[in-house]
Symmetry: C2
């Protein structure tokens, strides 16, 4: 089976689960929004990473499907809460949970998703899997810390590219690392294989966030499923912005400094910044950075024995590079 | 040692831990508010229930201290998020987290507390304690469901006393049940003892919430640490309100119906409702109901062998009945 077909096969089998999740739970005031976000699609990247990692470690892919559901619940909890914090209207081309319902409902929905995530994770854990639960919890801690740095950076004038990379490691890459770690461990991997897959996840995650930063301004709203320029409006110091600051001089630099001073820009100025980014070559810079982390991700897998799963993990890195959403 | 001295001893030893929690963690934008809420005091009832239950089950009280920290983290997560939802200004006579910082920080703080709670819980779990983690997660689910019912009831015209009791079992009593269950299990209790302590926690929790409803209107703001009449202003259909509806006739009933229609009352009308409650005898009705659940809690412990811990659990039921905060 080609890598793409394998990915699709897993995606479809997971999708069936997600479409039926929380159907029979009460109260519906809590579980309708929970089902809504879980049914709203997406790449299902994180649960598939759990399955591929288990496979690459020589384990049974079908025995980690609940853990796969757990990481998708975790991911969606972060989306629901982040969208409140970012006051975002759209997610995956749908209304965000707090817009469709209200903020209180969205807070509670996120909280509830976390707890259900643990219950799913436990289903695939045997008695000696305490470490797996620990890694999952630590993943939530990392995401919260990353999100807190991200928020703090919005109003900080001194954010370096190193600060930014440290932040996205926590905010985005940690969860992908957790997915690979849990898949590997439940799949019975030895410590070296666990480490290899964790590194794969971490580097893939960094590249993933860099691509996200890029799509936020150079993507197509329809395909990306979110408002274009959202990061700029919110004052997010993305990789593109920080590179632009490095490259700019004179009036260009002053324009970028006004972004820092005003903690973002108005919606009408998004295209002006897009043109500035193009002029300053930050698109190329970002693609180069993505390539660097992609190569590290693939190199991490060198020590693992060849398999269809490993091949798919490699394919995935390149596929994610071409993504539009 | 008397029960009161034992409780105080545990409280002090836990308090030392809580005062130092999150001291060295980064970023401070996340951990200052986390430390702030954990240092803000309170009765520390839930962690002490873990310890007393472990003791009553014949276990080593000192080996469940991390689990005790876990339930207090869980409790404080719910407080931080509930205070956002209820738009509360004050908690334990301090500013609430979302007022002192902001809502985004408070959302993130709550999320982070949950994850740390699991990490603490895991410290006291051996490999065969999967069930303990399951119970903890299910506790979070129950609290979320209870909170969702509570919110839905604010705008519902048909809430019965049975609905109310079902709601507070989830919103408040489930966590106390979880504390006793986890303490008992980690203390090595047999299934019968586990069930006895769980029942104790559940019934104590119901009585606790009924007392909370009562203090919301008949308490003293200084001692209660929260605004008096908050439930009435928010349109909460507490036990007192539902009893008043049962007892009232004529104009009194019409006044209560206006509360339902308007989803609450204005601050200036709180004393009018207090007088009405007094006239309708709902204070007595609530005390009777509390007594009923207190007796059930104490009776649950009949099957457990006598000990200083059991004695303290019994003392605690009566002590909580006299609480002002």
């Amino acid at each position: 089976m080609t890598s793409q077909l394998l990915y699709e096969k897993y995606r479809k089998s997971l999708e069936q689960k997600f479409q039926k999740l929380f159907e029979s739970y009460l109260p519906r005031t809590l579980y309708d929004p929970s089902a809504y976000i879980m049914k709203s699609g997406g790449k299902r990247l994180r649960p598939i990473l759990v399955m591929l990692s288990a496979g690459a470690a020589g384990g049974n892919v079908n025995k980690v499907k609940n853990a796969a559901v757990a990481v998708e619940l975790f991911h969606n909890f972060t989306l629901v809460h982040d969208d409140i914090m970012d006051n975002a209207d759209k997610r995956r081309n749908n209304q965000t949970v707090h817009k469709k319902y209200d903020s209180n409902t969205a807070i509670l929905t996120g909280d509830n998703l976390i707890a259900h995530a643990y219950n799913y994770l436990l289903k695939d854990c045997s008695d000696n899997n305490k470490k797996v639960i620990n890694i999952f919890s630590q993943g939530i801690v990392e995401v919260c810390e990353g999100q807190s740095y991200d928020e703090a950076f919005e109003t900080s004038a001194n954010v370096s590219i190193d600060d930014y990379l440290k932040m996205i490691k926590k905010k985005t890459a940690a969860l992908l690392e957790v997915c690979c770690s849990i898949g590997a461990r439940l799949g019975g991997a030895d410590p070296k294989t666990i480490r290899a897959l964790e590194n794969y996840g971490l580097n893939t995650g960094i590249a993933f966030q860099l691509r996200d930063d890029l799509l936020d301004i150079f993507g197509s709203e329809d395909k990306f499923g979110k408002m274009i320029g959202g990061d700029l409006i919110q004052g997010k110091k993305t990789f593109l912005f920080l590179k632009a600051m490095q490259n700019a001089k004179g009036d260009d630099k002053n324009l970028l400094k006004s972004f820092i001073r005003n903690h973002g820009i108005k919606r009408k100025d998004v295209s002006k910044f897009k043109k500035l980014y193009e002029k300053l070559g930050v698109l190329d810079d970002t693609e180069k950075e993505i390539l660097y982390f992609n190569r590290r991700a693939i190199k991490s897998l060198n020590s693992i024995k060849d398999s269809n799963y490993k091949e798919t993990l490699i394919w995935l890195v390149n596929d994610l590079s071409g993504r539009k959403n």
